[in-house]
Amino acid sequence: MDHVEFFPAAASTVAGTIDDIYFVWLALSAAITIAIAALVVIFAIKYRHGSKADRNVASGEHYEHTLHRIEITWTLVPLIIFLAMFLWSANAYYQSAAVPNDAVPVYVVGKQWMWHIEHQGGQREIGELHIPVGRTIALVMTSQDVIHSFSVPGFRVKQDVLPGRYTTLWFKATRTGDFRWFCTQYCGAAHSRMIGRVLVMEPDDFERWLALSDTAGSMAAKGAARFRQFGCSGCHGPSANVHAPRLEGLFGKPVQLQDGRTVLADERFIRDSVFLPNKEVPANYEPIMPSFRGQIDEEQMLEIIEYLKSIENVPQGGQR
């Protein structure tokens, strides 16, 4: 047997708070368990059948009132403790859930039974994720088939990865090293083999790794090629003869829909527009866009999204 582990490494900015909550619960639980056990043992001995302990029980209204007060107390005290812990841990959750503005995206596609990673620069990995220490990374994740879940215990992060939509997960590593990465949503036969390593490197080492990695161009460049390959530019490009929205400057902005609602043009919106184009038709446009379900795979879709992000600051060309 290899060496024994008792507690996971704490390697991210949120790990400290999560561990603190864990230890407080551990202490409270130990205290309560020991207290109950002690009382049970003491009563079991002192009041065992045949013992000479004093068993006179008071009676009357005053006594009943005291008993009532005891009940109320041991109802309210746990309630107050629980509410305090609820607030603390809900706050910790919001820290973990809200993606910071300075996050650098990395794209993840889970499929039975491997993880595909693509960095913005086009570097691809399978089952390994290289990141620099101290940088905020935001994973944009989707599944090609069933529900998976991305988990790195050392960072104290976990998020289910769903087919048909994007979920996000962010972290900032505080130490270099290798950290275990598991799929934690049962996904079929080789679920336990859908694992990997997160390799946290010094920033220089990471840049070197990026430069040395094989890439056929950045994701945005590949996305631009896809944009042409799948005929998107036919309708959404400058020489289109169809009334379709121009996509420069679109990403990240609010979009008014036909039914009056306003939604944000984020990753989800783009993906739904491609696969379920009638779901959210923008105002002043006809629902004539075809669906590309079955034609574009998840990784290609993410490249197209990166391309659209790369033109999000280009002023919109003349609308038709």
Binding site: W25, I36, V40, F43, A53, R55, P78, F86, S89, K158
Partner: protein
Amino acid sequence: MSSISVAQHDNYLTADFRLWSWLITLDHKRIAVLYTVSITLLFFIGGAAAAMIRLDLLTPYSELVSIETYNKLFTMHGVIMVWFFLIPSIPTTLGNFLLPLMIGARDLAFPRLNLLSWYLYVIGALFAIESLIAGGVDTGWTFYTPFSTMFSNTHVFAAVTGVFIAGFSSILTGLNFIVTIHEMRAPGLTWFRLPLFIWAMYATSLILVLATPVLAMTLVLIAVEHFFHIGVFDPALGGDPLLFQHLFWFYSHPAVYIMIVPAMGVASEIIGCFARNRIFGYRFMAYAMLAIAGFGFVVWGHHMFVSGQSAYAGTVFSLLTFLVSVPSAIKVFNWTATLYKGHISFEAPMLYALGFLGLFTIGGLTGLFLASLGLDIQLHDTYFVVAHFHYIMVGGAVMAFFGGIHFWWPKATGRMYSDAWARLAAIITFVGFNLTFFPQFIVGYLGMPRRYPEYPPEFQIWNVLSSAGAVILALGYALPLFYLFWSLRNGPAAPSNPWKAKGLEWQTSSPPLPENFLRTPVVAEEPYSYSTGGSTDG
């Protein structure tokens, strides 16, 4: 009331010896026996799956069984233990047997529905066993989509059908219990004179009746989607896998209260008797069980904190989950207080009940870890969760179930068993249980995921400890089979009230007459009037 001589009248066991009379019986006590035999069989099948799992996990690589077989083992373990053992266990065995006796009735309100319940259970179990024999199911007992509907090519349809049919067994039992408790209590037996076991059956029945239909329809949707390969849970056409999770957990969370509330009722009966004391805070205890049943319906999203559910939903579910823990805490304090100034003895049922108290406390406390939103991210889908629910369901519910079997065995069979062997079994079970499941908390925080036949070698020590515990636990469960069966032939005859307990069931013969009471009893005492005297003659 003087004891009824068994020789004068046939009891419910001797009234008719033909097998046929058992298969068409309308006697709630016989139906309870039928259920006990069936669920014991299913318990050992589910337990065999667990044994294989723990043996396979002795080494980091799945060397005992293939990873595909492992996936089927944990699925069948879950399906069988949840739906074919734990959910029916206390209500259909102890509940069916005791409910009319404890309220002074001759039978349940609808005896034919009761028999139908048993047949539905058996048919459901046969479907489940068929799916096992035909090659098993590998979706996990939670049947998450789209894996179960679009990707799994195992015998999902048969398994789902089995659970669906067994669900109707649950619904009919719950319906029967609610009507019986409302309409058939003996004269003088007001609601707040009812034993807490009856309150437990009532609260459980409310959940059975309201939650199970949701499962039933969800299973129909799964079955149709699996068969036709299109449906509302698959994103390919625009469906939503999270919709399945919401519908599934809307039932499956209340289901865990179906599993634990009856155990709480049993614990109250045993602790009251062997501490010879009023249950502390009787009304709070009754209200707490109702509160658990009620609040239990609005916390299901705590199974879905990392599922992609919105943060706002998660927050609401977390808060409600903390609230639902308060009544359970009250109950633990009240059981402990019941020991104060009692006259405590340690027969086997009491050892099981005290074991329940300790293990339920630990299990409940670890639930708070999981209710904490931020912390749950680390713990979700790891062995921490596995340990938590086994502490409650096995350390809690199964220990209480065994305690109840031992407590009411003399009443149901008319025989005493060896208390020395029974105490040994209780202690072995307690030790084995802790060794099996405590290490799982540790390896869970380390990150070991659930449903993994293979794991990093650094986790092996915790798995070996756990598997060693499982061997001891298995011994603890096997022992009662021997001395309890032995007692049927060779045990001394049991008096009506061997434990000198309060409660109407002890006022009739052991075993009871087919019609329970020669004359309908009239109740004038408060429940658990141990320390204030009152009759315990049997």
